[in-house]
Symmetry: C2
DNA sequence: TTGAAAGCGCTAACAC
DNA sequence: GTGTTAGCGCTTTCAA
């Protein structure tokens, strides 16, 4: 037997008793079902207010089979990209009366499938943000997670809407930008090996290099933080390049700061680009050339797609949505020095 | 009548039927209740695996009266301070097997009480982060939200644990730091009027000014963003001060950038301090004097307090916990110019 | 050690 | 228009 109702607890039964009607009638009133006599409805409402009745969403969810909650799973809640995506989803979902249950997989690839399905049981649907698990794993559990929407995981998972920033396009635009400025010796300051978005950049740059045999493209390890850019200065100078494409704005700013300390002039001696176009980027010295991405908009669109699935609206248009970053050329890039 | 069990759905009843036992026995097995015969337990477990049985947490929550979920309500999910607090709570709660349901009140003070109690019905407890509502409102609903824990709301709410950064102490340390460097004309670049943490800084600075009649302290409006600092340059120069205490690091960095554009030397002409000690602060030119706060630790401690409440452990020690920021003197502050 | 049965709080089909 | 009743999926008391 379940726990006895605690004496203080005000449930639908208490309201029904106090108003002299059946629980069903109270339920109808609370749900705005207008087959209820206006007088009775008014009385029920008044009693509910007096008793400070708060419907228990658990009971409701159990019988209705829906929780009006969606789960968002991110690899790292401390990462600004995922924070922005979460914000976009949460704000958009809230407008439609949905709540967000979050889970931070802490980059533990192996836990992701378990975490996701655990999450799914408590929610009406799941949004997976940049999942690290293999495509085999992902495809394997996709069915059990539906409704499922993917953010920043551009793999083709059948029947699964996916919203991703086209990092490959962005980094190519940046590469072409410095190419057009005459640079032929270019370095890419790589992001974390595990990062999907780094992998995408890498692949695109390899294509770029293949298409431009006149360009010498170097790949240097760095990371995703300001510090990693700052400590990559020596590597960059040793490489003897005239332009550096950093993994993101933070890395670029770290590099900028390191180069400044060495007395290397930007963009006269070396051109530097970032990625993401964070608000700071316009204010560095010199202002940072970057590629703007609006990951919160991606999150918002992911929600809208989820909403469609929840409403069982027939899917329209393609499942795969790609957001192109916008090139923001600024002072940190200039003509290649005449060598 | 509730929705009929969908034919595909695997519930505890399906497992019980397949294993030839009662639902009660399956329940006992799933919950590690060892009054079950080892053979039967093994068979039940095997059947559960074969059928891929996933217990429905909703049914469980309903009967147990707990969801193993806590709610975190923040005024703005885009604010780095609240993101960090959320991260701290979420990571710590996850270690104890709890999930986090988030709500962004979007700075709508009036909605906060409703949002909070709505949240509370779905969760076992609520953590309110920097709630904007009045102390009257807060005290009014506190009882109905318990277990309740407060972050960055140092008001005395009876019986309610509260964890806050002592912004007043931090800004006073910064003020004393520039005072000790000989500055007598100091400006405070104020944060958003609504921000509680701004209010605290303001009050402390007024105390500081009263205690140091030799100091002329000016209050200048700014905001919380890089841009607001950048566009406050004229105000600062007009004020004719030799030291500026910015609301936070972002504002300070904006100011630094603006001063640089004007050819004003830092710290030779003007000293500048930030607040928060974000990772960037060590890398600006010159490196920024700041006050370090670890809001994620605050979040973590808030969770631990909540965990104690959930376990009904007798509260020990004080309810109110204050975290002192640590002064980080760096190159952006120096001796006052000789006037 | 196991099963039957009640009940957590709610909704909805059905009967009146 | 309203009440009765069954049932959502689970746990737990009680009896066997």
């Amino acid at each position: 037997m379940g726990k006895k109702a605690s004496p203080g607890r005000v449930g639908i039964a208490a309201v029904a008793a106090a108003a002299g009607v059946s629980p069903a009638t109270v339920s109808r009133v609370m749900n705005g079902n207008y087959t209820v006599d206006a007088q009775i409805a008014a009385r029920v409402r008044q009693v509910a207010t007096e008793l400070n009745y708060q419907p228990n969403p658990l009971g409701r969810s159990l019988v209705l089979g829906k929780t009006e909650t969606i789960g968002v799973i991110v690899p790292d809640l401390a990462n600004p990209t995922f924070q922005a995506a979460l914000h976009g989803v949460s704000r958009a979902a809230a407008k439609d009366g949905y709540r967000v249950l979050i889970a931070d997989s802490a980059e533990t690839t192996s836990e992701e499938p378990i975490l996701s399905s655990e999450m799914r049981r408590r929610c009406d649907g799941v949004i997976l943000c940049a999942p690290r698990m293999s495509i085999e794993q992902l495809s394997g559990i996709a069915e059990s997670l539906r409704p499922l929407v993917l953010i920043n995981r551009p793999d083709d998972v059948p029947e699964t809407p996916s919203f991703s920033v086209d990092y490959g396009h962005g980094i190519t635009e940046l590469a072409e930008h410095v190419l057009s400025l005459g640079h032929r010796h270019i370095a890419y300051l790589a992001g974390p090996a595990r990062s999907v978005s780094h992998g995408v950049r890498l692949a695109s740059l390899e294509k770029f290099a293949a298409a431009h045999p006149e360009v010498e493209l170097r790949f240097l390890e760095a990371g995703s933080s300001f510090e990693s850019g700052h400590s990559a200065v020596d590597k960059v100078l040793d490489a003897g390049v005239t332009a550096v494409l950093a993994f993101n704005d933070l890395v670029a700013m770290g590099l900028l700061s390191g180069l400044h300390e060495r007395g290397v002039k930007v963009p006269e001696d070396i051109s530097v680009t970032g990625f993401d176009d964070i608000p700071f980027a316009s204010y560095t010295m010199p202002p940072l050339t970057s590629a703007e991405v609006s990951i919160d908009v991606v999150g918002e669109r992911a929600w809208q797609s989820m909403r469609g699935l929840l409403r069982k609206e027939p899917a329209e248009g393609p499942l795969k949505h790609t957001f192109e970053p916008t090139l923001r050329p600024r002072g940190s890039t200039g003509p290649a020095p005449r060598g």
